[in-house]
């Protein structure tokens, strides 16, 4: 086996040590994400489904798809997605 040295940036270190408790799987995320996106658009400060938000901060693929769904629904409904997107990204 080849051993290769890599650069471990502070951002990679942060992602590696992110707490992903409480546990939510990718399958559970997929089951819940449509309801969560609608809830988040209604109330960006919602505290519903805290485990799902933890999962989205720890799983880049699910986060991308959740944000995409949120933007599509917001556009369809004529809503401002800004506050909800900020919450998804951990900025709000």
């Amino acid at each position: 086996m080849t051993h290769e040295s890599r650069r471990l940036t502070p951002e990679a270190a942060r992602l590696l040590t992110l707490s992903t408790e409480p546990w939510v799987s990718c399958d559970e995320c997929f089951e819940l994400v449509d309801a969560y996106v609608e809830r988040l658009l209604e109330d960006p400060d919602t505290t519903a489904m805290p485990g799902l938000l933890v999962h989205l901060r720890g799983c880049a693929a699910c986060a991308e798809e959740a944000e995409s769904l949120l933007l599509l629904v917001a556009r369809q409904d004529g809503r401002d997605p800004g506050p909800a997107v900020a919450r998804l990204r951990g900025l709000g």
Partner: protein, 214 residues
Amino acid sequence: MTTLGRGTVPIVDEPVDWPTALSLPGPAQDMALRRLHALMVRAARHQVWRMRGMLPGVDAVTCEDLANSAADEALTALLGKLDTFEGRSRFTTWAYKFAILQAATEVRRHAWAKREVHLEDADLWSDKGAGPEQHAEAVDLASAVADAMREALTPYQRKIAVALLVDQVPVDVLAERLSTTRGALYKALHEARGRLRAHLAATGHLTDPDGSHR
């Protein structure tokens, strides 16, 4: 047609009860299927163009093919799970997620089709050449994480963690290359993160394995 305002995407003549319309054979089902397929294409196209940056050199026709292919696959997946729709969201939102998942997966697969994924048991160290803008504490943590990677993780966990979070291989691409599932890889990553946090707590780099950094 309902007009929802500037920049919005109207939904045309949406059935009130999608599951019933899709379940009962007849003209209403045919109509519902056509409308649903159009919605899936819309969502898949939205996703493909959102991830367009991953596809340099790919022309618009190929993007459209990707979107249509993803919409077809997603429609099949949705119809197979129609009886699981519980009305916790609007049907259209529920449907869109199938198309978005499939389109995102297709784009990642396409983007990585000619790229190798090196699963090596890497030795990691912090960025010694980090600029002054990088806080010394963050560099110190990176160094401690590199040590924890070597000491607390199994070789498999280390390979998965490095591939996903250091080399940034998309999780569904890695799952396909390893003949496993996205969920299984995320579970392995979750367990690796728990081990790293526990190790860093024991060495004083985290105050609480379930809390924040020191």
